[in-house]
Point group: C2
Chain length 606, copies 2
């Protein structure tokens, strides 16, 4: 049976000490209420809710799955009761603007909530999670009337929302969308088409579901420039928000998937369903892109959640399971064998999971501050500046952390030996559940093209330069030539980090030059380049955590063990994971020819 | 729906051209019948059987799973009929000695059969596959009467067999085995205990199952030196082999697993079940170790099978699915988008799978020749010499190829995007099925300790030196200073390979020196060292395949495309996969301190 305790101490280390959230909150009068006392209380309450209400439904939800019967989807036992408690507790509205029923707390705090929910039960968390996409769309692009009608209920959690993008013939390539929207005389539209892979597209948790649907108006330009957004409720709503007739949206099936089985993934048939336009005509994709980054950071979090859950459980097992003796001699002579945690290779798997969980959490919590800055920006300039930073970081977070989340989950399972393969223990479920994370919200390959093609080459490396400057400034500030009292201890981190950042810039330049002659280099290098960037970026956060831990060692005597552990985990990261950049640097620079030279008909001789 | 065509052309390339099986068969008069004509006919027939009978049961078997009802296990629909056809076709007896009903063909040919069966349907193939362990045990250690009674029927396939090792408290650490064997006056034994994770431990394919059981005699020494082997049939058998009463072996449950769901994994309760001793008292583990290597090579094959199946299907999908345009401009302007195979990153995933499948196949087919040598050895010296070679290669094959098999299967799924996560396509099943391979028959960690601790350090690197010599001899023989007509083209491979082999030897020496002072270095380096060794070893086989392909290009004009593709895949391997040794060399040499310095109580603060 899976165990989970929210790592509140680690979260607070990041919030208070490393990233200094409270100083950052002070910049925004809207966040006046986000005081340490309130935030602590929220973290504790949220931890309780996740540990007591969501975790117990994790494995049972996987086993039972969602049921589909003639258009009706039933979520697993207990899901609806937990959702009701969640809404009653006001959790859905936590970090949404007050004007439409939100509590106005910072998005960064919402990220901590999302982490705990997602670790305790990712499948369950997808139902309220998907609403955020719809809420953001309506918040950013809806009319006042649309906000009044839909946003308030979504914020309360009375209704949930979806994003309906994918169709059978296209997922990544949304230019191929075929769903049609035919205008009616009354200003509404009739929506016709089939959408697939719609997470939370049909369920029994709420009485209404608000779909945001990509569709084409008559005569719209072909491709991505002819797509508009529509609000299509499952049940029609009058001006006062009272539910009326069923809309013509039916769930044709739910997918039978590898994992996240308790999350319903619907095929939705729109058969002249009534909808209203949201945002300008033909600008649907642009409107969606405005918060694509936030959605992707939310998916990056799935890697951290899976890693944390796997780590907590494999650590317990490694302390408990007795097998063989330590290489250096018996550690527990009174037992029939030593616990497997004495074996260096088991330690390596545990430390890998630990470094990924804590390093990944740091990357996400750093990024959450940027999300705050975007949402709170008072000028378009400030918003754009923060958005550019987020745009650079997002593909790295999404792809790197989900890939590492898969690795960490798999290592956790490996610690269990054969027992890891048996459902009962729950470890194989973590592996199955997290595997979707490198696929949805843009595959790893798509993130990598976004990073190298759009965010690096198109901007001539502007965002990378900015980020590198930040890292190099940190390095200088903590280095041997600075006043940093911990400069001796920090030396090994600073040295490795500066060298890596310099290489990163150099390799990027070389790729940019080569891309001018051979466009294929972009796709040939992209995934390795993204992973390479990810390891360096995570190295920056491990160095920051080490520096903060050294500082706290001197002042917070009660928790010295915590800081010592943090420093030793940083050492592990720099010695065991960061060197993966060596191979990646080599393979990302390899000639695209080795990928492209083989004619596609010669790829197999069967 | 999963597709599969047996890659007979590639198999024959290895059998005939690279490893020259027929020249090798000539050394053994017992293999006189294994002529090219017969072998070709067998490969073709086997391919047909696997494609037509086993493949169609692969996904349905996963969906239906095995059913357990009050001790009775029912295999999925069609499994029994396919098994009957298999037995009627004489497939089980193919490569077993003629004295007990076998056809006496070479074990290396049996490996090709196993590959096709295992690719078409790994779960199904486990039922006949598990028999081989029991057959080998009885063949090597049984009395003539035991052979007469059990071996003939196992060879025919009338009965199947199992290996009963694992118990709830121990898998790897068999010294903890508790099952007891109490001698009876009539020379039989009463077996008492519980065995878990028994593959094919209970099923409905045959009317009897012959269990080989590890148990302890009264007063036996503690630990591994007090374990004996017993033959315990599910149904008791009289001297003539007629079935009698049920024995007291009952199936208590079957496991609910991540994958290989159509293969039954039984909990077996032995409740004073009648058994007979096989082999000397208290020497059970030693007896088992005599063919542990062959069993592990059989598991290594699972990595190749999963990779091949994933590759064939992701290649088909990549040619079919239309999404976005090539970076270098539209390739199919008349279509709504280009097939995803035009994208370098998709190519990279496909080439990775291809290189793993073909490189892994080469490693296994090379090793199969050594298995032939062991089985056919006329002197103990010759047997020992071949066995030492096999003992060195086996842990690398087992761990490296199963880890790479998992990677390849996952890449195959990734090519499908979100569709890879949906059961219908079958790609996620390959990922689930192959995941067991790094766990059973000794986890990756156990293989790595076996390699570095036992096969390298204990023998002072003897086997590694021998293998390196073989590689360096090849390098010299094909290099610029040789008469090799293809030396110019081979240069890049030879250069990289010799450099890597030299490093391999050097790093090994350094590890050996450090291990004298710090035993933890063995477990700290082992897994990375094994993977490092694997990449170099696979590099040797890719270089051999390239050399052979260059030779054939000049003589076999009909199949030049095949040889060209082989050479280009070798180039891919050397440019994109072999460089992974760079990071591994760094991390395997890291200080064990980074793993061990953190007190186990400080690994979490919850």
């Amino acid at each position: 049976m899976l165990q989970y305790k929210a790592p509140v101490m680690d979260m607070k280390f990041l919030i208070e000490d490393v990233f200094k959230y409270y100083k950052h909150y002070e910049k925004y009068p809207e966040f006046a209420e986000a005081t340490p006392d309130l935030v602590d209380a929220i973290l504790q309450e949220c931890a309780k809710f996740c540990e007591n209400e969501l975790l117990p439904l994790n494995q049972s939800g996987d086993k039972e799955g969602c049921k589909f019967d003639n258009g009706v989807v039933t979520t697993p036992t207990g899901f609806k009761a937990a959702y009701n408690k969640y809404v009653e507790g006001g959790w859905q509205s936590l970090s949404h603007p007050v004007e439409h029923g939100g509590q106005g707390l910072p998005p960064s705090l919402g990220m901590a909530k999302q982490e705990m929910m997602g670790t305790a039960n990712w499948s369950w968390a997808m139902y309220p999670g998907l609403s955020h996409g719809a809420m953001n769309t309506i918040q950013s692009h809806g009319t006042e009337a649309q906000k009044e009608l839909y946003l308030t209920r979504l914020t309360e959690g009375t209704w949930t929302g979806t994003m309906c993008l994918t169709e059978p013939q296209c997922g990544t390539d949304l230019g191929q969308v075929k769903t049609k929207a035919i205008p009616n005389a009354d200003g509404t539209y009739d929506i016709m088409g089939t959408k697939i892979f719609i997470s939370a597209g049909e369920h029994d948790l709420t009485e209404n579901i608000i779909h945001i649907v990509l569709a084409r108006l008559p005569g719209a330009p072909e491709g991505t420039r002819g797509i508009s957004l529509f609000i299509v409720p499952k049940v029609q709503v009058d001006q006062q928000g009272n539910l009326g007739e069923s809309n013509k949206v039916t769930c044709g099936a739910i997918e039978d998937k590898m994992g996240i089985k308790a999350s319903s993934t619907a095929v939705l048939n729109f058969d002249n369903a009534k909808g209203v336009l949201i945002g300008p005509e033909n600008k649907g994709l642009e409107c969606m892109f405005t918060f694509m980054n936030t959605a992707r950071v939310g998916t990056a979090l799935q890697g951290v959640c899976a890693s944390e859950l796997a780590y907590q459980n494999s650590l317990l097992y490694a302390k408990d399971r007795l097998s063989m003796r330590a290489l250096t001699g018996k550690k527990f002579p009174d037992k029939v064998a030593d616990p497997i945690i004495v074996h260096p290779d088991v330690r390596k798997m545990l430390m890998t999971q630990k470094a990924i969980s804590e390093g990944g959490r740091a990357m996400v919590y750093y990024t959450a501050k940027i999300v705050d800055e975007i949402e709170m920006a008072k000028t378009e300039e400030a918003r754009k500046e923060a958005d550019d930073r987020l745009g650079f970081i997002t593909p790295i977070l999404k792809a790197f952390l989900t890939e590492l989340g898969c690795e960490s989950a798999s290592q956790g399972m490996q610690v269990f030996g054969g027992h890891g393969y048996i459902k009962e223990w729950g470890m194989e479920q973590i592996v199955r559940d997290v595997r979707i994370a490198t696929l949805y919200e843009g595959t790893t390959g798509i993130q990598a093209l976004d990073l190298l093609g759009r965010k690096i080459l198109l901007t001539r490396g502007k965002a990378l330069n900015k980020f590198s400057k930040e890292v190099l400034l940190f390095c200088k500030d903590k280095s041997m030539i600075s006043k940093n009292p911990h400069k001796r201890q920090m030396n090994k981190f600073i040295w490795a980090l500066s060298k890596n950042v310099a290489n990163w810039q150099q390799y990027t330049m070389r790729l940019a030059l080569r891309a001018k002659k051979d466009r294929d280099i972009v796709g040939s290098a992209s995934v390795d380049y993204l992973m390479y960037s990810g390891y360096i970026m995570m190295g920056y956060f491990w160095a920051q955590m080490a520096q903060t831990a050294y500082e706290k060692l001197a002042t917070d005597l009660e928790n010295r063990d915590f800081y010592r552990a943090k420093i030793k985990t940083a050492e592990f990261y720099f010695e065991r994971l960061l060197p993966r950049t060596k191979s990646l640097a080599k393979t990302m620079m390899a000639d695209p020819k080795t990928l492209m030279q083989l004619d596609e008909d010669l790829l197999s001789f069967l």
